[in-house]
Each structure stands twice: as C-alpha cells, then as structure tokens.
C-alpha cells in the first residue's frame, strides 16, 4: 500500500507517469502515417475503456465480464446525441420527437452519456453486488447479454442489427488524449480516496476488512458507479472512432480485448491498465499488418487470418504462467519504488466449493 504520509507529489506519480507515457506514444504516432494515427486513436479510446474497467475490477478484485454494457450504453447515447439532425430523421424516423431534436457537441454528449451509464450502473449494482467472485462475473455477463439483446432489437432507437451509420467519425489523436488523461485522473483520485483504500483492503482480505468495519458492498458500489461513468465516456469516444455502430461492436469481442489489456498489463494497478493498453495495441497493430499479408521489409507474406488471435492468446497465456500479476505485477509506476509488494498468490481465497 502506498504510505499515507508520502507527499502529494509521490502519491500522484503513477498518474503523472501514465500521462507522460500516453503523451509520448501519441506524440510518436502523430509523426506517422494516417493509419498509424488511427491506430493511436483507437489505443487512446481503448485506454479510456480499460482504465474505466480497472476502477472497479482492479480495486475490488472482482472480475467483471459485463463492463462493456456501459460502453454500449455510452456509445449509443453519444451516437444519438451527435448525429446531425436531418440525417437522424432520415435514419431513424420512428425516434421519439424530443430525442430527434437533440444535437450536442461531442464533449457535452460524452459527459451526458457518461451520466446515463452511471444511472444504469446504479441500477445494475443493486443486482450484481450482492454476489461474490465468480457468480458476480457470470451475473454481469448475463446483464451484458441482456443489454445487447435490447440494443439488437430496439429498432426505433438503435436500428437493431443494421446498426447506426453516419456518426461523425471526427476523432483525432489530439481530441482523444485529454479524455484519457481525464480518465486516469479520475481513476487515481478514486484510488487515493478513502473508499479506494477500503476497497483494496477488502480485495486483499475480505474477512479482515469486514472485521475492521469496511462495508464492502458499499465501497464496491461506489467504484462500480464511477467505473460505469468512465466506461460510458469511453463508449462515446468509441462510437466516434468507428463512425458506424452495430450491436456486435460493443459485445464479447470488446470485452475480451479489454480484459486482455488489463491482465497482460497488470490488473491490480492503474499503471498496469495503461501499460497493458499501450502494449497490446502496438502488438495487435503489428500482428494485424502481418495477418493482412503483403510485404514486410524483404519478406513476402501471404495473408494469415487467425495469427493475431493466436499470438495475443499466447501472450496472455505466457503472462499468466510466467508473470501472473501482469507486466506491473500490482505495482504502480513511481519516481521511487512505492509499489505495493504483495503478489496475487499471497492472499487467502475463499474455497469455491464452500466446504470447510
């Protein structure tokens, strides 16, 4: 645990270093081709989603397979609020009048989408957070499936499986960076708050934390709701990155990608979430180019669908076998070694079979 008495400067170090890392990678990408810049934008958007998911999963230690539902809510809400008025009427004639009239700039739309996701989070936190561990993960997955079914069939608002087109695909690297920095700031602020400390205590040892008076469910709810807000904003950015949105875009594949980033980076620290995003984004882009075939230097490569998934999966497996805590292994980046030193195997786990 970070010592309370360390200076503000030292406590904010992970946030500062993560921000510098993000700025450096984005700056590097800006010198590259248009494709590179687009990849960098995607990385930044994924960063917001990964950091948003981290706020809950990382601090609570409860694995959630359902956070993409907030991304979905945010993405569709932002799309509906930012598509130009006349296009929206042509696209979605059955839209309720007040919704058809709405037209916001991107920042306002993102914040409103975040708040909407937050409301959804409040409702769903009542459903999920009574559960523990595995059951919570599966229940959140059940809710993600529910949300996806609704999106796929609510033709009047989401155009169902056809998806929404004509979302202004105007997202640039420069426009996305501030949002990721904002997300990092929110995550850091939560992590350093009292509730954040209590939640991490409950992650390390729920029984001891409860004995010390931590109301685990309340702190989990707080983290869940904040996390929903950040994921909603990330969803809005994602919609503007894609330009066209179908229900499949915000479903299991995105869930798996987010978890991949978090686990490889190190799910138990903010630095891990950011490093994982950068690492996997760069790796995935390299693999995508190999997979597409063509010339790579002197080598002539035939297209190989599946290579990307194969190598990403191998990365994940090797991470789990050789470095189970991820790249950062639960430590935060700091100017000195401020890291939390406990590995993932040191805490006692409740017996899943419940015998004993």
């Amino acid at each position: 645990m970070t010592n309370q008495r360390t200076s503000v400067f030292a406590r904010c170090a992970p946030g500062v270093i993560c921000t510098l890392l993000v700025l450096a990678v984005s700056g590097l990408a800006l010198t590259g081709s248009e494709t590179t810049q687009r990849t960098a934008t995607q990385m930044l958007v994924m960063g917001v989603i990964a950091v948003g998911t981290y706020i809950f999963v990382g601090n609570s230690g409860v694995l959630s397979f359902g956070h993409v539902m907030f991304v979905a809510v945010g993405a569709y809400a932002t799309a509906l609020m930012t598509i130009p008025h006349n296009l929206k009427q042509a696209l979605l004639p059955a839209l309720p009048g007040w919704l058809a009239e709405l037209e916001f700039g991107l920042p306002e739309a993102l914040l409103i989408s975040g708040l909407l996701s937050l409301l959804v989070g409040v409702v769903f936190s009542l459903l999920i957070l009574r559960l523990d561990g595995m059951a919570a993960g599966i229940a959140s997955l059940a809710l993600l499936i529910s949300v996806n079914v609704v999106i796929s069939n609510w033709d009047a608002v989401t155009r169902g499986a056809q998806g929404i087109v004509g979302i202004p695909a105007d997202l640039t690297v420069g426009a996305t960076v501030p949002w990721l920095i904002g997300a990092i700031a929110v995550a850091l602020a939560y992590q350093l708050s009292r509730s954040g400390f209590r939640l991490r205590a409950s992650r390390e040892d729920p029984v001891a934390a409860a004995a010390l008076g931590v109301r685990i469910r309340r702190d989990r709810s707080i983290a869940f709701v904040i996390s929903a807000f950040v994921c909603g904003v990330g969803g809005g950015l994602y919609a503007h990155f894609l330009g066209a949105l179908t229900p499949g875009d915000v479903y299991l594949q995105l869930t798996l990608l987010t978890l991949l980033m978090l686990i490889v980076g190190g799910i138990r620290s903010l630095s891990g979430a950011v490093i994982g995003t950068v690492f996997i984004s760069v790796l995935a882009e390299l693999l995508r180019r190999i997979e597409a075939g063509g010339e790579l230097g002197p080598l002539e490569l035939p297209p190989h669908p599946g290579v990307q998934q194969l190598i990403l999966a191998l990365t994940l497996m090797l991470t789990l076998l050789l470095r189970p805590g991820g790249i950062t292994a639960g430590r935060e980046l700091g100017f000195s070694l401020l890291g939390r030193r406990r590995g993932p195997h040191t805490r006692p786990t409740a017996d899943p079979a419940g015998s004993g």
């Binding site: 230690g61 694995l63 009542l126 459903l127 999920i128 009574r130 559960l131 523990d132 561990g133 595995m134 059951a135 993960g137 599966i138 229940a139 997955l141 059940a142 809710l143 499936i145 529910s146 949300v147 079914v149 609704v150 796929s152 069939n153 729920p206 029984v207 299991l252 798996l256 978890l259 686990i263 190989h304 669908p305 599946g306 290579v307 990307q308 998934q309 194969l310 190598i311 990403l312 999966a313 191998l314 994940l316 497996m317 789990l320 076998l321 189970p324 993932p344 195997h345 006692p348 786990t349 409740a350 017996d351 899943p352 079979a353 419940g354 015998s355 004993g356």
Partner: protein, 290 residues
C-alpha cells in the same frame, strides 16, 4: 403446453450435457473452463473431418479426438497453474480458448461451414398425441443415459470415488493417497467426452460450425451452473433445465412484439434469481474460510 415441455426437455438436456462438463472441473479444481467451448468446436470440426465414415465410427472418433484435446489442454496449460486462485484459472482457460480458436481459424478459415449430421433423425414421431422430433428423443435419451452413467461412475468405480473425494477436499484427498494427476486428468477426460457428445447434438440441431461457435454454448453452461448452484453436479443439470424452461416458456407466451427481447428477459431473470439466492437455486452458502 406439453409440446413446449418437450422442447424445454430437449434443449435442457443439451444444456445439461455442456453444464455438467464444466461443473465437473469446477467442483474438483475450482476451474471455470472457458475452453470447454473450444472442445465443443473441435468436436464439430472433427465431425466434418470424419464425415465420410459410417456414423458410429465417426462418433467414436469424434469422442476420442475431443478427449485427447481435453487431456492435452490439462497437460499443457492447466497443470502448471493448478492450485492458483480461481481468477488465474479462469483467465488461463480464457487465454487457451482464444489460442485454440486462433489455431482453428488459421487452418479452417473464418467462414461458416455446414455439416449434415444424423440427417435420418430429422423426422418426427407421434408420442401420446404429440409430434416429437426423433432428434429430440435421441438427445433426451442419450443425456439421461450419460447422466446415469456418470452417477454410476462416480459412485461405483475407484476413479470416480477418488474424484468425489477430491471435489470434497482436494488437499485431504491427496494426503490420503489420491493421485492428483490421475484424478484431474480423469475429470478432463469425462469433461471432454461430454463436450464431444454435446458437439454432435449441437451440430445436428444447427447444421453450421464456425471457429467461434463454442462461445454461445459455454456461456449457457456457465449461466446454468451459477443458476443451479456452484459445486454440485446435479444442481448444474437442474440449472440447465430451468434455463431451458424459462427460455421456451417465454418464447411461447410472450406477446409477438416482445418476443425479440426473450433472451434479455431470460438473463435479467437470472440476475434477479441470483439476487435473492446468491448461491444458486440449490446452492448452499459456503462457510468463509479464513
């Protein structure tokens, strides 16, 4: 009404085959096996590879291939993380699932392929005034036989008894001379056999296969297990049938405008059930071990 019950029984049987395969590994080593879906997927492709042979031979080969893959998964990936936390096991299985999917994608391509299995069972027969598909009968019958067979295996054979002991308390069982590797490999083998048979029936029902086809069934299996109650095999089967019943009944009785939202209601319903019974319908609240 009776017709719907027959449907629910057939779908529930298929769900139960999948759920039991997953629940068995969970009860013994605390593993929620994402890669179980990939075993089903491999079973589907194996069905395609051996399609030219007589069906009985094909079926035996499919079961053998899938059991082989399950044992290989255990040896290569899960043995080195045995005893790690549930999350680590889950993530390992998730990585393995992506890996196998990527491999099949590389060799078979992403496009759906079609397979005609058990085409002769497409017809229906009249049973007590109901028209029942022969395939449904086969699924229910085979599942019943397999479940009884598993129950017998777990009670009457030395390996089965050792598996039950390991499920009760793995460390204690080892201390009493149960060989961990044998028990875990046995569990993977049984799990693989169930996956292979589920694959045959699944392909017989749907007729198509893709590298990503394992995800749907495995999610259904997970939900069934959590719904029924973690850590008990018969509870997993119960969860599978409840899930099927919920889904078929909503299909039948929802007004037509709402029918598209059936799955949303099913899964929302499951979240609500779990809210009131966090340990599943038949689960027992586990004592917290400090």
């Amino acid at each position: 009404m009776a017709q719907n019950l027959v449907n629910a029984l057939s779908i529930g049987s298929l769900n139960a085959l999948i759920a039991i395969g997953i629940a068995l590994l969970f009860s013994i080593m605390g593993l929620i096996n994402f890669a179980h879906g990939e075993l089903i997927m491999i079973g589907g492709y194996a069905l395609l590879w051996f399609a030219a042979l007589p069906f009985a031979v094909t079926a035996v080969l499919v079961v053998a291939v899938v059991i082989g893959c399950a044992l290989a998964m255990e040896r290569v990936a899960f043995r080195s993380v045995r005893g790690a936390s549930g999350e680590t096991l889950l993530m390992t299985s998730f990585a393995l699932s992506l890996f196998v999917q990527g491999g099949v994608l590389l060799f078979e391509g992403p496009n759906p392929q079609s397979a005609d299995v058990l085409g002769s069972l497409g017809a229906s027969v009249e049973v007590a005034g109901l028209s029942v598909g022969k395939l449904d009968l086969a699924i229910v019958g085979v599942t019943a036989v397999l479940l009884l067979g598993l129950a017998w295996f777990l009670r009457a054979t030395p390996l089965g008894v050792q598996m039950r002991a390991a499920a009760e308390d793995f460390r204690m069982a080892r201390a009493l001379g149960v060989r961990a590797n044998l028990v875990v490999a046995g569990a993977f083998g049984v799990s693989g056999a169930f996956a292979a048979i589920a694959a045959i029936f699944l392909i017989a029902r749907t007729g198509t296969l893709t590298p990503a086809m394992g995800l749907g069934p495995v999610l259904t299996g997970f939900v069934a297990i959590v719904l029924g109650g973690l850590g008990r095999l018969w509870a997993a089967a119960l969860g599978a049938f409840v899930l099927a019943l919920l889904s078929v009944m909503l299909q039948a009785y929802l007004p037509s405008g709402m029918a598209a939202y059936r799955d949303a209601l099913v899964y929302l319903g499951i979240a609500v059930i779990l809210m009131f019974r966090p340990h599943g319908i038949a689960g027992r609240p586990g004592a917290v071990r400090v």
